[in-house]
Structure formats: C-alpha cells, structure tokens
Amino acid sequence: MLDAPDGDGYRLRMRPAPTCPEIAVVDLQVCDRCGLCLPLCPPEAIHLELTDLVVDRTTCTGCRKCIAPCPVGALTMVAA
C-alpha cells in the first residue's frame, strides 16, 4: 500500500476507516489506464486522474466486479 515510508501517520489522518473487510487496489506499474473498470464499479468508486487510476477506499464495497475484467490483471483485493 502507498503509505508514507517514514510512517508519519498521514494514513490515519487522511483515510477514514473503510466499511468492508476487503477492498480493491490498483498496481500502477501494471495498469494501462484504459478505463474499463470505471463503468463496472457499482458504487462508482473508481476514477482516472491524468496519470493514475484511483480506487476510493471509503466507497469501495469489496464486490470484486472490477478484478477479473481487467485485461492486464492490475486490480487485486487486499485487506481493508
């Protein structure tokens, strides 16, 4: 996960507690930014910024609908 390496605690301040045991995360090294997963997400938790695909961890419900359709396997589930 993308926590600050020096552990300055910003994860606690910036990220409210998620509501499900597992959420989707994207490996930006593998992601091709094709946008396929966006309309598949029931709670619309995924969006693209100029260079990054972003999964909103407070909106993701852990439904896994985005995982298998990714053509390059860039999305995986992790413990919330």
Binding site: C34, P39, L50, P69
Partner: protein
C-alpha cells in the same frame, strides 16, 4: 434568444474562467464530429474541444476496423494517409480452425487511428473550434443560470481552471465521467463488458486483403479473436472476452496463448488493452445542458463491438442538437431529448435487436460453430455471402431458428 458571450476571460487570482457555448470533452471520433458539426451549423458559437492526452489519436485503444459505407459518410478513404488498408474479404475461423472465406465486396478499411483522429480534430479546428490538448475535465457542477461549470486540469500541473458552458457534450469514452457527473446511468453489467487486448504483430503470414475472426470458448469466451491487417506481414492481432465466462486468466494471457498457437513466429510490438461495452445505448443520453455520445453512451454495435462510425454519427447529431438548442435559448433536458430520439431511430433501436441476437448466440457451443463452418464451406466460394450462409444455416441447423426469431421480434 441566444446572446453571444463576452469574449474576455476573467482572471480571478490564479484561476481563469473561460466561457464557451459548447464544451466537448474527449477528442475521439465522436467529439471531433460534435465540434465540427457545431461550428458548421452555428459558426457564431464558441466551441471548445478538450483532449486529455498530449496528442489527439494516441494511445490507440482500437482494432481500427471500419465499414466502407459508414466511413464514406464522413470522409473519403481512397488514398488518404489515415487509411492503412482496404479490406475486401472476411474470413471466419471456427473453434477447430476451419476457415470460412466470405465473398463480399468493399467490406471496409483498417484505419491508422493516430492519423485519423488527428485528421477529424483538425477539420473541426479549421472551422474555428478551439482544441485544448493535455487538459482533462476534473468535475462539473450546474450553475443557477443553467450553465455547467467544468473544472479543468492541465498535465503541467499549472493549477485548475474553470470553463463555463451552455452545453457540455460528453464524448469521453468508456470511462464516461461526464455522464456520471451529470447524474446519468452509465454503469455496465459485467456480462456486457468485453475485456480486450491487442498487439501489433510483425512478420506473420496472412491474406493482407482479409480480416480474420475466430470464435471459441477456449479462445475468447463470450467474444472473438481478430487479425486486422495494417500492411503485408503486419497486423493488429487481438481479442475480446467476457471475464465472467473466462477461467482465471486475463485477456492479455488469452491473447498470448492464441498468438503462440496461430502465429508462433510473429514479433509482438506495442500491446494495448481496453474495454468494449457490448450493451445497448444508455437509457437516457441527455439531461439539462448535457449530451453524451459514442462509447460514453454505450453506442457500440453489441454484436461486432464496432463503434467508430456509430460515434461519428452520434457526435454529429449531438453537435447539431446542441447548437440548435443554444440558438433558441433553451438547453433544457426536454429540448435536448430530441437527440436521444433521433439516435434511437437512426441506430439505437437496431442495437437493441443486435443485443438480443448476441444473447441468443451465447447459448450455442463450439461444436455448433464447427459444424456451421462445414455447412458454409459447401456453398461455392464465389457465392458464399453472409446472406447465403445464413439462409443455408437456417435450413441445416434448426437450433438457429429461435435465434433468428429473437432478432426479428
């Protein structure tokens, strides 16, 4: 009545507000045609065309095939630098590799989308549309006067700017954020999303005047694999599949296996991936001051996955309806609903039929397609048109009758 907007740009600290009549978000074929038609129909209106990438046309997320008749409605492909290859034959390949060559004339073209999209955008610019590249829309809100305030971000990180528009046309492709922001339903059921991967493959042997399409549950479950020639020995080789029907592998892994089996000596170049929405047009493609067109509105032939000509037709229609509404000073949902009605009459209702056909064909297995291929090959090659294949198939394969019935229902 429409009053021209002041041409000045208001500076408010580091934020810049830019007013326009029509803001088109996404400079693919739908967006370029929307901007072009808006300027053609109403030269006095301001039209801005946004593109997130640094160059219109890249990266290419497309197999680049287009039908001849549909393309000619918008541009002449003969001798054009953006037309990579003329296609005169279609070869269907059954799951067991039986090939069926279909005799049709002037089937279509393989485009060079990097050049084709740039060509379409340049035509809009030549009429006076303003093209902004390396600029993405980050969100939008409706103002009390009915205009949309759209937040824009540049790739350089130079802070956000704002653009106010009387009508926003969302042509932002499969991700369809404009529709989402405007409150339209743009989500797709998983069974109607095709996951696609494609390489440009060099050094392989095929008929350079033909496209090849192969079906099969083990090859591309719920979709098909394709070879679209770009020049002799070089082709777009890809596939689309429905992940719900696939095993644990992703689209790229299926494609790697298919290429290893069919074209083992091919050199794989750039890989691109993407989603094709094999669904029907979204229920509502308009709201107050907003129209959506092309992939963003699911305007794709659900049977073939083709969307370029559909996008151009819808974009042109959106540009025309938007400018008419602005001229009359009424950009309400009620007024813009004419766009949806016209699109459904032109192609949207046909897509509903194709979708029913797609769902019916899903019930047929590999054995059926293998035997259908042998039936088709009994028709003499020069008479083997799609119509004749279909007629023969209906006689010899009675399981097709309910499929056909669902198409005409």
């Amino acid at each position: 009545m429409h009053r021209p907007l002041p041409r000045r740009r208001a500076h408010d600290g580091r934020r810049v507000t830019h007013d326009t009549d029509v803001l088109v978000i996404g400079a693919g074929p739908a967006g370029a045609l929307a901007a072009w038609e808006a300027k053609r129909a109403a030269p006095e209106l301001d039209v801005v065309l946004l593109e997130r990438d640094a160059r219109v046309g890249t990266p290419v997320r497309c197999a680049e095939g287009v039908g001849d008749a549909g393309l000619r409605e918008f541009a002449d492909p003969d001798g054009a630098p953006w037309a990579a290859r003329k296609i005169t034959r279609v070869v269907f390949v059954a799951p067991d590799d039986t090939e069926v060559k279909v005799a049709e004339r002037d089937v279509g073209w393989i485009l060079d989308r990097t050049q084709f999209d740039a060509f379409l955008a340049e035509r809009a610019v030549a009429l006076g549309a303003e093209l902004l590249v390396s600029t993405e829309a980050a969100g939008m809100t409706c103002e009390p006067d009915g205009r949309w305030r759209v937040r824009l971000r540049g790739a350089g990180g130079g802070g956000e700017t704002t653009c106010r528009a009387r009508v926003v046309i969302g042509t932002d492709g499969v991700e369809a954020m404009v529709g989402r922001w405007a409150g339209l339903e743009t989500r797709v059921p998983a069974r109607d999303m095709e996951s696609c991967a494609q390489y440009v493959v060099e050094g392989i042997d095929f008929d350079p005047d033909a496209i090849y399409l192969q079906f099969g549950a083990g090859i591309a479950p719920g979709g098909y694999a394709w070879l679209f020639p770009k020049s002799p020995g070089v082709a777009n080789v890809g596939l689309g599949l429905v992940a719900l029907k696939a095993d644990a592998r992703n689209a790229r892994q299926y494609l790697d296996e298919w290429i290893a089996r069919r074209y083992p000596r091919g050199a794989k170049r750039t890989c691109t991936v993407g989603g094709v929405i094999a669904h029907t047009t979204i229920r509502q493609t308009y709201t107050d001051g907003v129209l959506v067109a092309g992939d963003a509105a699911h305007m794709i032939n659900p049977l073939s996955g083709g969307g370029i000509v559909n996008a151009m037709k819808a974009g042109r229609l959106a540009g025309r309806v938007a400018t008419g509404a602005i001229r009359d000073g009424d950009t309400s949902a009620h007024r813009l609903s004419a766009y949806h009605a016209e699109w459904m009459a032109q192609l949207g209702d046909d897509h509903l039929k194709y979708y029913r056909l797609k769902r019916a064909l899903e019930d047929l297995d590999d054995q059926f397609f293998n035997s259908l291929a042998r039936t088709a090959n009994r028709i003499p090659a020069e008479k083997r048109t799609l119509g004749r294949i279909f007629a023969h198939a209906l006689v010899r394969h009675p399981q097709l009758i309910p499929v056909a019935a669902r198409f005409f229902m």
